[in-house]
């Protein structure tokens, strides 16, 4: 057995151990430990993905000493590998770019706990990605929820806690529904491992028994996970939660936390219930329509909001709609497009939040009309913000364009869904242009800024803005540029990423 096969387990454990140790360390040491742990995990995940890409297979890794029907397992293929790389990139760059916000906006005695929460979040996301056991999936969903709640409420303002409590209430309903689904699944199949459940489900479908129960299970799991990822009718907690926490929190929450649940849903569709059974239940159509509604309604709410980060949060609602629409198209190309969009949207949205942190400074949020002149004051932040906005709008050469193109292509073979999907993409793109170009025009407008730039960097030193050291300014600049460059790289050469996703999805069952 190759040593590389241990890497999924190692990466989960490294993050867990880092989380445990940061709680005893001071804030500086905690920052170093957390970043090092995520960086090592990133390297391990890249090595694993390259290895799996070359051999083109997936493997199952036994946890503990009990074999298949009883024990617990980890499974890794290319798709899991690339998702792990993606979450590590987002959390590492959020931590580095957000170090000034973390130091300024969080109580000094609690800063090490922020790194604890981040490591816990990373560990639980990796476990959600790699797990092959549906109940372990449930446990890590809950850990993920608790860590997400910590990310929101770390700022210790009444508003942040109130939004955290709303987030918790909605998420707990979602995980309750998912747990009932798991329970019913166990009672009809008698298994918890994904492959064994899949075999039993195939047997049940062949017999024709328990068909109503299977539909109920499908619906419960789908609704539970879509509540947690903030699909349209359940999105009301998103704008508060994303706009009231510190910048790195918003970037991680929107970039990867909600995506972990969507990935688990895709895993359940393909590996647990089975694509054909899922399609026969008709739940795909509901996801599709909810996704389209989210695309339009999210954009409309974003146009109506006057604040920058709130608008960005509403834009997340509409982008999650794109992802669910991709899944709802109900073919393999749609799933590939959805996973592609998970990655591009994660990179883009975290870039938007991190770049916006230099405009907002210490304030929680900033009016879009107050952005005037910021583009001349913070040239790099404004440039990367513009790049990310163009990517979300779907401008060619940026990753968002490829994602939208893949989504549109996937819908071509699907009859009525083609008309719905393409017109929804068109309408939503126009709405995206309306609200993002309002920001860009304000950013580069003259008037708010007198032209004297004493700081010459991305962040400045005035009292109502962040207090930033030279190192923090440099690392903020490097991180947001890295995100922008990654975005353009994917936009210019999307073949590698889409190949990995397609091949990963092919070995998924």
């Amino acid at each position: 057995m190759d040593f590389v096969l241990n890497f999924p387990f190692f990466s989960i454990m490294i993050c867990m151990l880092a989380a445990l140790s940061t709680f005893m360390l001071g804030k500086r040491a905690a920052a170093v430990v957390a970043k090092a742990a995520v960086f090592i995990t990133l390297i391990l995940s890249i090595v694993l993905t390259v290895y799996l890409h070359e051999c083109g297979e997936s493997f199952v890794y036994m946890m503990g000493h009990f074999p298949a029907p009883w024990g617990n397992e980890i499974r890794a293929g290319e798709l899991e590998g690339i998702m792990a790389v993606f979450t590590c990139v987002i959390s590492l760059l959020s931590l580095t770019a957000g170090s000034a916000s973390i130091r300024n906006e969080i109580d000094e005695s609690k800063q090490n706990l922020y790194y604890l929460i981040t490591c816990l979040m990373e560990a639980s996301l990796l476990a959600l990605i790699y797990t092959n056991d549906i109940f372990t999936g449930y446990v890590f969903i809950e850990i993920n929820t608790i860590a997400g709640c910590g990310l929101i409420m770390i700022k210790n303002s009444g508003r942040a806690i109130a939004s955290a409590i709303r987030y918790m209430v909605v998420s707990l309903v979602g995980s309750g529904l998912f747990l009932i689904g798991t329970t019913l699944m166990y009672s009809v199949t008698g298994h918890l491992l994904m492959e064994n459940i899949h075999e039993s489900v195939m047997g049940l479908v062949a017999d024709g028994s328990y068909d109503v129960t299977l539909t109920v299970i499908t619906a419960l799991m789908t609704v539970g996970l879509s509540i947690k990822s903030g699909l349209f009718p359940f999105h009301l907690w998103i704008p508060d939660a994303y706009s009231r926490s510190v910048a790195p929190s918003s970037s991680m929450l929107s970039g990867m936390v909600s995506k972990g649940y969507i990935f688990l849903l895709i895993k359940i569709i393909y590996r647990v219930i089975g694509f054909d059974v899922y399609k026969a239940s008709g739940v795909f159509n509901i996801i599709f329509i909810a996704g389209i509604a989210a695309m339009i309604m999210g954009s409309v709410s974003a146009i109506r909001s006057k604040y920058l980060r709130r608008m960005t949060a509403y834009s997340s609602v509409s982008q999650i709609g794109y992802i669910f629409m991709g899944i709802g198209i109900a073919n393999d190309a749609g799933a590939v497009a959805a996973i592609f969009h998970i990655i591009t949207h994660g990179l883009t949205k975290s870039l938007l939040f991190l770049a916006a942190s230099s405009f907002t400074g210490k304030k929680e949020d900033i009016k879009i009309s107050d952005l005037k002149g910021m583009g001349h004051k913070y040239p790099l932040s404004a440039a990367t913000f513009t790049a990310a906005a163009l990517s979300i709008v779907g401008f060619p050469l940026f990753a968002g364009f490829v994602a939208k193109m893949l989504l549109a292509n996937a819908s071509f073979t699907e009859g009525w869904k083609m008309y719905a999907a393409i017109s929804a993409i068109a309408v939503s793109t126009i709405l995206n242009v309306v609200y993002f170009f309002r920001c860009i025009i304000n950013l580069y407008a003259y008037g708010g800024f007198d032209g004297k730039d004493e700081n010459n960097g991305t962040l400045d030193l005035k009292s109502d803005t962040l207090i930033v050291t030279g190192y923090e300014r440099a690392i903020h600049a490097v991180s947001i540029s890295a995100l922008a460059v990654l975005n353009i790289c994917i936009g210019v050469a999307p073949k590698l990423l889409s190949d990995i996703i397609t091949k990963g999805l092919n070995v998924f069952d």
């Binding site: 809950e142 210790n156 009444g158 806690i161 709303r166 918790m168 209430v169 707990l172 309903v173």
Partner: protein, 148 residues
């Protein structure tokens, strides 16, 4: 019909409890009642889960009287899952309660609607006033808290 109800007695009770808990969690305004609703919901799921593994007339799978025949014991896996679920539920409840305490200290009420109203008023005040006014407001708040 009555036989069916008798056979699925646990499941029916679990479903009723789940609906009670679920609606309390979503529709109660009081935060403590919300948390109680959350706990009822969790208990309902655990009842459903535990009753899946129970086979009437059999024992808990602990080897005391030396019988190694699997037919004398119930299925232990759901019980194990319930234990895990209880741990999760306890930690979530603790987190919710700690947030409730913090909100109560800040806003002096447990009513979530009232809290959200105060929160949105807070944001409006911040919009209309400039930085200097905000700082003096904060000082007033601290003094008032100190007096109390």
């Amino acid at each position: 019909m009555f036989e069916q109800i008798y056979d699925h007695f646990n499941d029916i009770i679990a479903a009723i409890l789940f609906v009670i808990g679920f609606s309390n969690l979503l529709f109660q305004k009081n935060l403590i009642k919300k948390i109680i609703g959350l706990n009822i919901m969790d208990v309902a799921i655990f009842l459903l889960l535990a009753s899946q593994g129970y086979i009437s007339g059999r024992l808990a799978p602990i080897l005391t009287d030396g019988s190694e025949n699997a037919a004398t014991y119930i299925n232990p896996i759901p019980s194990g899952l319930v234990l895990t679920g209880i741990v999760v539920s306890v930690s979530v409840t603790a987190l919710m309660l700690s947030m409730t305490i913090r909100l109560y200290r800040k806003y002096k009420t447990l009513d979530l609607d009232e809290i959200l109203m105060k929160v949105s008023e807070e944001s409006k005040v911040e919009d209309s006033s400039d930085t200097i006014v905000k700082i003096s407001d904060d000082k007033d708040g601290q003094e008032r808290e100190g007096v109390k």
